[in-house]
Symmetry: C2
């Protein structure tokens, strides 16, 4: 394989110096029309493109940001990535996506690696790496935006407010006349379940209704978990006319169990989910659920990071809440 054309090759063919080629292409200093024409012709002939490693090395800017996510196959993150990309593209920036696929060690490895590659900024959603450790990895030389619930004084932060969102879903059920509302999903201490549960509680208390312990059923985030939990509740003869689920998969499982027991959704029991996964609109009945606004979160992260990189934004780190949006469909 022949190697790629270098700027020296262009200079030789155009009959000018490397400097002049650089200036002709960047416009940093004026160049005669004649020289520019010769340079452009040579560039075309050789199919020349600058080696961005060299450019980045010299300029100390790579026009690249990294987005470190826990799992690229979780549809939330690709949608965030698209938002990020749309927010930074016009400024001439690129995003590179790193998925740790649930591996804790790889979170740190990716961050370190991306800093080594001299990215101009980082967006990170971390499951397991403590904030202080991230600090040491980044070294304070690269601006960081934290996506998600992690609180760490290393950069701006963008996150949702599950509590408020679930409270809104619960109030939606109350407005529709449901009074015996159950909560299903999310083992205590695992993931976002607790804040979602507290949103449910807030809404009930706010409406002057009691929290009935039997109607708060904790289970994992799977379809099977939701199905088993609701089936058990029905078997136990519990009485409820609506279910607030901690996530969509659990809600789909809940509907499975209701269908199996001959209860109509939403007529006998209304069901709400959380996440608004693709399948939410595809199942029957279509799921009323909370859209976590992945794309918007991405654009916010991208804009924020860009402002830090350019210095347009300085001062204390900001904390931006992107509230969820209740998506009313058929199930509630």
């Amino acid at each position: 394989m022949p190697s790629r054309a270098r700027i020296a090759d262009v200079a030789e063919i155009a009959g000018v110096s490397r400097t002049t080629v650089s200036h002709a292409l960047s416009g940093r200093r004026p160049v005669s029309d004649e020289a520019r024409a010769k340079v452009l012709a040579a560039v075309k002939e050789l199919n020349y493109r600058a080696n961005q490693l060299a450019v980045g090395l010299r300029k100390a800017r790579t026009q690249t940001i990294a987005f470190v996510m826990p799992d690229i196959t979780n549809p939330f993150y690709p949608m965030v990535a698209r938002g990020v990309q749309d927010a930074i593209r016009d400024a001439g920036y690129q995003v590179v996506v790193c998925s740790t696929d649930g591996d804790a060690d790889r979170e740190a490895a990716f961050i370190s690696d991306m800093v080594g590659r001299a990215v101009d900024g980082l967006i990170v959603d971390l499951f397991r790496t403590p904030g202080e450790y991230v600090q040491s990895l980044v070294g304070g030389h690269t601006p960081v935006v934290i996506l998600g619930p992690l609180k760490a004084p290393i950069g701006d932060r963008v996150h949702g407010d599950d509590k408020v969102s679930v409270a809104e879903a619960t109030r939606h059920l109350l407005r529709r006349g449901r009074t015996r509302i159950a909560f299903v999903g999310g083992l205590p201490g695992v993931g976002p379940a607790d804040s979602r549960l507290s949103g449910y509680e807030d809404a009930l208390l706010g409406a002057g209704l009691p929290i009935v312990p039997e109607l708060v059923i904790r289970c994992d985030y799977t379809r099977q978990g939701g199905r088993a939990a609701v089936a058990a509740a029905l078997d136990a003869g519990l009485d409820f006319d609506a279910i607030v689920c901690a996530n969509d998969l659990g809600a789909i499982g809940a509907i499975d169990a209701l269908r199996a027991a001959g209860r109509a959704v939403p007529d006998d029991v209304a069901v709400t989910g959380f996440d608004d996964i693709d399948a939410a609109a595809l199942v029957h009945p279509q799921l009323t659920t909370i859209d976590n606004r992945a794309y918007e979160k991405g654009t916010v992260c991208g804009r924020l990071l860009l402002q830090r990189i350019t210095g347009e934004l300085t001062g204390p780190f900001r904390d931006i809440v992107v509230p969820g949006a209740l998506n009313v469909r058929e199930s509630a």
Copy 2:
């Protein structure tokens, strides 16, 4: 912001030359235990990590490959990306993901940009860019693996065989005693519909059954398309006991129409899909469909590219078929 530590800083603190630091860290030449200890101490103290731009520039290798995909929010591609990543990670390579989000110009821009960033290899799935153009963008200096149906003499190729897969799904229906099988989906000439249709035809003809033109219904790839097509067929009084759909969304739409008409799935009409999207297992009844083996395709792409990069594989470009896998669930 203070700038990051450089190798010269490490050398100074350790009291040795830059050369010795490099050798101590890379092991390319022997270094005394004493010097190594001092270097490692200084590295730790300064939290030093090499600037990969400089390393890549000098070594002319970046240990990075790029994966250019048409749409990161199509779950197929993230799963492929995971496969690629798993295949190359142990060799010390990284993958950077570029999504063109359906924009044709950006396909070319990304490829050009990644070549400019001196990636060691490319995996591309192109919707619109012609092969020869890609050739000129890459310049023949970087190995390429083509994912998908594009035929271009610029690199190895990894793709499915929709025709064979759909034929298998159709034979599955025949084995279950279905005889009047319809095909629904995919406008002619758009995407993979034609090869899928021909698999359906192959299977019927192979079983000695005629192709009934009325039972071949072309529509777009959406849920609405499938629903409208099947609703119209039912209205027209067409008689069929199974439907082979060109994709899962269309199949879900088909089931919508069957449900609305009071036909039971699969008892009255069996339905198969294609893609095995997440929702396929979440809808009711769960969809029997063809898994396009995204992860496996990713690992194959990754391994192939790696072999080209290392020179382990040379000679004519290979064409590897990753056959789909029929995933039998409830709908057929």
